[in-house]
Amino acid sequence: MNVVHYFFQNHEEILELTLGHLWLVGISTLFAVLIGIPLGILSAHYPVWNKPVLGTANIIQTVPSLALFGFLLPVPWIGARADRLAILALTLYALLPIIRNTYTGIRGVDPFVVEAGRGMGLTDRQLLFQVELPLAVSVILSGVRVAVVVSIGLATIAAAIGAGGLGEFIFRGLAMVNNELILAGAIPAAILALSADFGLGWVERRLRPR
């Protein structure tokens, strides 16, 4: 009951931090998509790039998140503001699932279909945009979905470096040993993650080629 009471009393701050949280996740996902999809295409088309690209993304993934925030702190311009730093870290984490799924999705396109397209006289560019990407889009999107869900969780840690978001409540609650405060951060974060998972999953099914 106390939790509900707390939510009603603080709905403005909860809303504000939720929006801040969404902003961190949204911007970093956008960057990760803009970087990750071209890298995935590159490694699918040129196998030489496959190992270095996926290897690097894999290594980034293994760095503990708090440590990554720490590592990035001394980087000029980035380290100067907490939200820049948080966005960079979240972008780096989101790369792996997006690159990997783009790679898998494009490699998974039926080679006969690609060859037929090539035989018809499609240029490499037309093959990519009219054949490969449309056929791989649901696999790519499922990578984006994983990235978003993971980012929503990870973004709570960004509060540790003062980047805001729902983690504010959680860290404040931990410091004050106050469960209501912790839940005020954790519950909206969980709802965000579940709705992102559900919503993007729905879009993914709609786009799946028959």
Partner: protein, 260 residues
Amino acid sequence: MERVPANGPVIEFRGVAYTLPNGRPLLHDLNLEVQPGETLILLGRSGSGKTTTLKLVNRLLTPSAGEIRVNGGLTTESDVIRLRRGMGYVIQDVGLLPHLTVERNIGLVPRIEGWPADRIRLRVEELLQLVGLDSQIRSRYPHQLSGGQRQRVGVARALAADPPILLMDEPFGALDALTRDQLQREFRALQQRLQKTVVFVTHDLREALRLGSRIALMEAGRLVAVLSPQDFLQSKDPLAAAYVQACGDGLDSVINRGTP
């Protein structure tokens, strides 16, 4: 496309060899000419090099030695995209794009060639009629079609931009006997009307005799003989004779004598 020299061959192989990057040779010293308006059959079992030969024409493969000329121009020196758009390509699994409707599949090349939308629509209509499909089918997706329908759409798509050359790689191979028979019949009638230069790959002698004006028999990467259907049946060549024997009687009646 370059001008077609009068009476010259449309496609010409001169000493062509193809070797895989790993050093395995697939084709040896191939010399072959395809005349305008004929249906040249490449007949052979799997691994004989017939599909390789076909893919050398539209440069899905590049020859390791020798030269291939299309309409007099070297394929290795021409713009590969223009070269390919000058020939229709039909393969066994059709290669219809699964995410596009029948209409968009057929209209793909015209669309990237920049035809206006209503001209494409008319052309699709015309082609559906030509290959014997109901125009209702245009909004369906490939997975909603039967094998025979898909194959017809594949032929329609290859004809879309009205290329003078058709390359067909076992186009009717995956169909049931009845549908295959029907499509072969229709293909023969269609070919009489359109007079395209066709290179047609098959392993089925019956199909070769039925559709071909000449049959190029291949084995283990070599061209064994080029024969007319009548000559093929009489041939003393041991391989040709073995094909005839394996097929049994009644072959004489299927021969393409120019009447549908």
